[in-house]
């Protein structure tokens, strides 16, 4: 529809977005793998999702293709549903355990 937009956006190189998103994503992954508090892990997961959102939006804008942004909408909606369920689970555990440290949850062994 409008060829102008991508050009405006391209003043920031695509790589920057990719690097930024990858960095965010990596922070999220590292957080998930190293942190022991369920809420923090959960937030790291959200960080990963947001990294994806950034990346998709960037690609979408660069290609003047709305699909990527629509995808972002769906990710947000689904993430909301995930948040709902996830928080419910964490609240449930907290009420049983008074704690959200996943290390305490070792009744099921690896």
């Amino acid at each position: 529809m409008d060829q102008n937009i991508p050009q405006v956006i391209q003043t920031v190189p695509l790589q920057y977005y990719v690097f930024f998103a990858t960095a965010l994503f990596s922070i999220g992954v590292v957080g998930v793998l190293t942190r022991r508090n369920a809420i923090i892990i959960f937030m790291c997961v959200e960080l990963m999702l947001n990294a994806v959102n950034v990346l998709l939006t960037a690609f979408s804008a660069y290609r003047a293709d709305p699909n990527g942004q629509i995808f972002v909408f769906f990710i947000m909606a689904v993430a909301a549903a995930e948040v709902a369920v996830g928080l419910a689970i964490i609240v449930m555990i907290y009420r049983n355990l008074q704690n959200t440290d996943v290390n305490l949850l070792n009744r099921l062994k690896f």
Binding site: A77, A84, L87, V91
Partner: protein, 129 residues
């Protein structure tokens, strides 16, 4: 392209927001710093206690609260996201025309079905549990 994007906006249109942000922070910081410098400081153990109408406070204040609040919060998250979905639709309402409207009716019907379910399930019955 599904979303109508006005053409005459530039990313740089958003720059003044920074200006306002700086102003807001400056004001708040000013207020905090001045009151910190001007106000007297007299600490005492009794004064530092939590104010609970003169009754001695018992236990930790960070106690679990009614789960209804969490439910409200979780429901808000879900419904709010659905509302967000409606923004692009609303903006493009005329372009999408009748089909768009019918689709949105379906969407709203589903949303309201969930809504009715939630209400019937007793989310708002505050005097229970």
């Amino acid at each position: 392209m599904l979303l109508a994007v006005p053409t005459n906006y530039q990313p740089s249109d958003f720059l003044p927001i920074i200006v306002q942000f700086v102003l807001a922070i400056a004001f708040v910081a000013f207020a905090m710093v001045v009151s910190h410098l001007v106000g007297p400081r007299r600490k005492s153990v009794v004064k530092d206690e939590a104010f609970e109408c003169g009754i001695e406070s018992v236990g930790n204040a960070r106690t679990p609260i009614s789960v209804k609040y969490f439910l409200t919060a979780i429901l808000f998250v879900l419904f709010d996201v659905e509302v967000i979905f409606m923004y692009p639709w609303a903006v493009n309402f005329r372009a999408l025309g009748q089909t768009g409207f019918i689709e949105m009716i379906v969407f709203l019907a589903l949303l309201m079905a969930g809504f009715t379910y939630v209400i019937k399930k007793g989310v708002l019955r505050w005097n229970e549990a």
